[in-house]
């Protein structure tokens, strides 16, 4: 009795009934090769509905089994009431055979119906392991590169195909791309259904809105009960210069003759990479054709950041406790990582679209007994489970999403671990700079400190931004005062301004730089009163942090059109001598800065210190200098960063008072000192 099967692969056999045995079992091995796996059919004539378990034996050792769960149209035409008689061993079984072939090349493969003793006939199919896998087994670690290289090669082959492509009617019903995704390395991944006999890899042409695009593809096939018998499900990747969108309507033409066609579900369902990986995890063991293992390895490659996509998630654990980010520099990171099976070779961190590498020279380790409950009995691993390191890279403050830590293993593989976004802290914004000292107590002595310091200065300068003008009135000679955030101090400032305003003649103006803190409304009201009480041009500007009024001084001077100015920074009030000195400065502005020495009013016997918190200059002189000057951070405790001329008229003694003594932390002082010395 012959049961015809559809034409297709050369290895498909016509089933034959054995006439040598008295048995009601019937079946055959139809496909047996490294690429397409092992498949066939089996049924019991006395119980057509019975589902059988087919065992795969190598020299009498059962290595795998599967059930007869595939509907066969050809058999159903004859026996419509039967249960599915087809079977297909999953790709994992082929993987097992491949590994054994290297050691047991002469071993024979047999398929047996469990519980019956019935051996399925194999016809001419190679059933000796060495013949099934004639080439030497490929090293596992080389697989990702091989598949990528193959995809690249097939993509290159497709270039000519795409140029010369002309549509022809397909030989058979087309398939359908149902979902698509893009991984972080740029590969397009697709899944859907296709004609079973279509090639599972090779060159292809993707036609999208009359554009012909060269592609290389690699698919793995699995069974689907919702498509006809000539079709099956597929999942795989395309190496193509194209990105799927919801309204994409591509058609994929497979193979060197571009005859096999796969259309696209409309609208196309574009899913996240994580969702696609989860889908693949479900389907990979069902794949019977194609290179599922190679696809899996491609997913695990190091430029793939899908969490749990690489490595065995049960064998490695990691979490980050603190990620101190500094835009332009990178991150200072502390956490813990344990890998049961593979030594950890390094770390990478992805924040948003930025990938950071851990600087090995900054890595140090410490015990983490607190994670012992995860891995009892692994004291050696726990002894160095905690790590701290600097991850360098161009982090930006607005691209910190989906943080992911990658453990890089010595064998080239990696595993990805989601990082709790709550571990992220932006230095200087969310936490003070001194938080960095918790991770690196000797921060100022570390080799990366100059870059860190530069990053801090740049970031603070960026964070300060520019000021926002509330009221602007032109004044060629300008006294710029910084309104303190503290309410009492603000009242005092405006009281002093009103009191002294009457001493000034024409062409003098005041500019107030106030903060956007709780006292903002006081600033607006008191400024209005200042305008009403004086005849002088008055301007008001707002900045987020008035401690950095110095940084926005160029913007203020430009807006007001000042040619000479006196700047009074936060926490400083002009004394009577200072108000007189203002007059002196404007009478004859100097080409160099003049300092208004600021005194601690509780220490009567001091002349005060020359500090950039209170100085006078011409706008041109200041503008020429500020463009090249390093950014200073924190309070001004000395004249830095301004250039100091020790000429006779460069310091007005006891000209101003501190309402609070300037203080800088040692770290800030070191950052500023580093700027001076660089």
């Amino acid at each position: 009795m012959f049961i015809a099967s559809q034409a297709g692969e050369n290895n498909t056999l016509l089933a034959q009934l054995s006439e040598t045995e008295i048995t009601t079992m019937r079946g055959a091995i139809e496909v047996c090769d490294a690429r397409h796996g092992i498949s066939g059919w089996a049924l019991d004539l006395s119980d057509l509905r019975r589902v059988h378990v087919i065992q795969l034996l190598v020299d009498d050792t059962v290595l795998a089994s599967c059930k007869t769960h595939i509907t066969r149209d050809d058999i159903m035409e004859i026996m419509p009431d039967e249960a599915p008689a087809g079977f297909r061993f999953p790709a994992a079984a082929m993987e097992t055979l491949r590994r054994l072939a290297a050691m047991f090349g002469e071993a024979r493969i047999t398929l047996r119906v469990e519980g019956t003793g019935y051996i399925l006939p194999h016809g001419d199919l190679p059933v000796v392991l060495g013949r099934l896998f004639p080439a030497a087994p490929e090293p596992r670690t080389a697989e990702p590169a091989d598949l990528r290289a193959r995809l690249q090669e097939e993509h290159d082959q497709a270039q000519l195909l795409a140029r010369e492509f002309a549509y022809v009617s397909p030989d058979c019903l087309p398939g359908l791309i149902e979902v698509a995704s893009v991984d972080t390395g740029g590969y397009v991944w697709v899944a859907g259904w296709m004609q079973r006999q279509a090639p599972v890899h090779g060159p292809a042409v993707l036609v999208d809105h009359q554009r012909n695009l060269a592609a290389g593809y690699a698919f793995a096939q699995y069974e689907r009960t919702d498509v006809d018998a000539a079709a099956c499900g597929f999942i795989g990747t395309l190496h193509v210069n194209w990105k799927p969108k919801r309204l994409s309507d591509p058609v994929l033409y497979l193979g060197e003759d571009a005859h096999s066609e796969i259309a696209t579900l409309s609208p196309l369902r574009v899913i996240t990479w994580r969702e696609f990986v989860e889908f693949f995890e479900i389907k990979k063991d069902e794949c019977h054709s194609g290179d599922a293992a190679g696809l899996e390895q491609l997913m695990k490659r190091r430029d793939n950041w899908a969490v749990n996509a690489g490595g065995d998630p049960e064998a490695s654990y990691a979490a980050l406790d603190m990620v101190l980010t500094l835009p332009g520099f990178g991150c200072l990171v502390s956490g813990w990582a344990i890998s049961l099976l593979r030594p950890i070779d390094g770390f990478m961190l992805r924040l948003g679209t930025t990938v950071l590498h851990c600087d090995r020279d900054t890595l140090f380790f410490k015990p983490r007994p607190d994670v012992a409950s995860l891995l009892p009995g692994c004291e050696n691993l726990l002894a160095r489970a905690g790590f701290t390191g600097v991850f360098r890279g161009p982090v930006t403050f607005d691209d910190l999403e989906t943080p992911t830590l990658k453990l890089c293993f010595a064998d080239g593989s990696s595993s990805n671990h989601a990082v709790d976004v709550k571990a992220l802290r932006q230095l200087g914004r969310a936490v003070p700079l001194e938080a960095a000292l918790e991770l690196y107590p000797a921060l100022t002595s570390e080799a990366f400190f100059p870059d860190f310091a530069a990053g801090v200065r740049t970031e603070i300068r960026r964070a300060v931004g520019s000021c926002r003008a509330h009221t602007v009135q032109a004044a060629p000679r300008l006294v710029v005062m910084t309104a303190p955030d503290q309410r009492s101090e603000m009242f005092l400032l405006f009281e002093e301004l009103i009191h002294h305003a009457g001493k000034f003649g024409d062409n003098f103006g005041f500019a107030i730089i106030a903060g956007t803190g709780p006292s903002r409304s006081n600033a607006v009201e008191l400024f209005a009163n200042l305008q009403a009480r004086t005849q002088m041009p008055c301007s008001l500007f707002f900045v987020d942090d008035p401690d950095y009024a110095f940084h926005v001084l160029p913007d203020v001077l430009r807006a007001v059109g000042a040619r000479a100015f006196v700047f009074v920074g936060p926490g400083v009030f002009l004394a009577d001598a200072g108000w007189q000195a203002v007059q002196s400065h404007f009478a004859e502005p100097a080409a160099h800065p003049r300092f208004f020495a600021v005194v601690d009013p509780t220490a009567a016997d001091q002349d005060g210190i020359a500090t950039a918190a209170c100085f006078a200059w011409t706008t041109i002189g200041f503008a020429a200098w500020v463009g090249t000057a390093p950014d200073h951070i924190g309070a001004f405790s000395d004249e830095a960063p301004l250039p100091r001329d020790l000429g006779q008229d460069s310091v007005y003694p006891r000209a101003a008072w501190f309402s609070r003594l300037p203080s800088v932390t040692p770290l800030v002082a070191a950052i500023n000192q580093q700027a001076k010395s660089s």
Binding site: S488, E495, A528, D576, Q583, P601, P653, W657, L661
Partner: protein, 450 residues
């Protein structure tokens, strides 16, 4: 001070006299506003054109009752006032300026800088067309702790301010801020022609602080309506001696001291039969623990009673129902009106022997002193006072009280002296070398002292 002499030897003032106060007595009953209003009434009685200008919170508009056509109110928002430097937002000064521009007073007597702000005094006092005088009612310019010169949080008596000492009491402020605060006050007071203090004690504190001694006149606060002096209460052998406390029931006024004294008295049957402490006043801003303890003790001790709140009109009668008036304050006090009221009623005063109290009440003459916080000494003094001979001796030593007209005469004399003595301020010289100290020395009252 010879109150009978012509207060203005040179003739009547060339304009009204504006009495400016931080509150109106119809809204609040503090000593400063009562004294200020008494002065205003005294000036009116003497026939001088006077003006009473008070700042009133917007929320108290409904309470305000102006007593005459020459009273003005400047409304303000208490939220818009800085209580450290004592500076206000523009509105109160703007309105005050408007009134002064309209009325053109010859003298402006500030009875406080609160609510208008010290900047208002500096601005008004700089007007060359008027003479500004400031009456000091407590130490607020010196001490940020409610102007009482009591340390915080220990509530110990403080003798002298300094930036470091004040910074210790208020660690939330810097020492430098206290120095700037003093400088601001000194600069504002430098524009003022003179000062009035109701007590020598307070005047001395301000001269120690930096004001010139000759710029301060000591003038007692008068009573607007002095009570009729009554003879001592009739007594029998077993009539208990009644010691009356009058005032706000708060720890600064020493009520806690009295309660502890009551506990000690209660342990002695003989004392508790002879001595009765009667408390008059209201609980303002007191915690629940204090109030509960007070009420419990009133219930538990026969020698303690609570007579409830009182108003100024009945204080004379209430005091006449006592043998002595108690003033156990734990802070310096300046010139408490209670002392004048007690004298007016003919009652000697037993007080803590410190500050303005000790000045106004002569120990063994018009009253008795006890050591501050010393309960045993207080009880001993009460025991000593509870004898007819002592009462008679002390009653005989009670001085005459000042009334509103006496007060006004004294003020007018001071105004006249201050105006005559006021040196014109040196004109602002532009372009002086900054090393020249002559500029700073031209205004000695405004020199910053550490």
């Amino acid at each position: 001070m010879d109150y009978a002499a012509d207060p203005f030897p040179a003739g009547a003032p060339d304009g009204p006299i504006a009495v400016v106060c931080h509150a109106h007595p119809s809204v609040s009953k503090g000593g400063a506003e009562i004294a200020a209003y008494t002065l205003y009434e005294g000036l009116n009685k003497l026939g001088y054109e006077a003006l009473f200008i008070a700042s009133v919170p917007e929320s108290d508009r409904a309470k305000l009752a102006l007593g005459s056509a020459r009273e003005r109110a400047v409304f303000f928002d208490p939220i818009s006032y800085d209580h450290f430097y004592h500076l206000s937002t523009p509105a109160p000064l703007r309105d005050l300026r408007a009134i002064i521009a309209a009325e053109r007073p010859a003298f402006v007597n500030f009875h406080h800088f609160m609510n208008f702000g010290i900047g208002a005094i500096r601005a008004i006092a700089s007007d060359p067309n008027l003479t500004a005088v400031v009456t000091l009612h407590e130490f607020l310019a010196i001490c940020h702790h409610h102007g009482q010169m009591i340390t915080r949080p220990a509530k110990l008596l403080c003798d002298r301010s300094s930036p470091s000492a004040c910074g210790t009491c208020f660690p939330e402020q810097t020492r430098q801020q206290f120095a700037l605060r003093k400088n601001l006050f000194m600069d504002a007071f430098g524009s003022v022609a003179g000062f009035v203090s109701p007590s020598r004690f307070l005047a001395k504190r301000f001269t120690d602080w930096g004001l010139q001694d000759e710029a301060i006149a000591v003038i007692e606060n008068g009573l607007a309506h002095p009570a009729v002096r009554t003879p001592p209460r009739p007594r029998h052998d077993n009539t208990p001696w009644i010691f009356g406390f009058f005032g706000q029931i708060n720890p600064f006024k020493g009520v806690d001291t009295l309660l502890r004294a009551v506990e000690m008295i209660g342990r002695s049957k003989s004392l508790s039969r002879r001595i009765q402490i009667r408390i008059h006043g209201n609980f303002v801003g007191q915690g629940e623990a204090f109030t509960t303890r007070f009420k419990t003790m009133v219930d538990d001790y026969d020698c303690l009673s609570y007579a409830g709140p009182y108003d100024n009109a009945s204080v004379g009668r209430l005091m006449s129902e006592c043998d002595y008036v108690l003033m156990p304050s734990t802070w310096w006090e300046n010139s408490p009106v209670v002392i004048q009221e007690a004298y007016a009623a003919g009652r000697p005063v037993i007080c803590t022997g410190i500050g303005g109290m000790a000045e106004k009440i002569k120990d063994g003459v018009s009253g008795l002193h006890f050591r501050v916080g010393d309960i045993a000494d207080l009880v001993h003094v009460l025991d000593k006072a509870a004898h007819p001979a002592m009462l008679a001796e002390l009653t005989a030593g009670i001085p005459a009280v000042t009334d509103a007209e006496d007060m006004a005469r004294a003020y007018l004399a001071a105004f006249s002296r201050f105006r005559a003595a006021r040196a014109q301020p040196a004109p602002e010289v532009i372009g002086l070398p900054v090393e020249d100290d002559d500029y700073n020395s031209a205004k000695p009252q405004a020199r910053l002292e550490a």
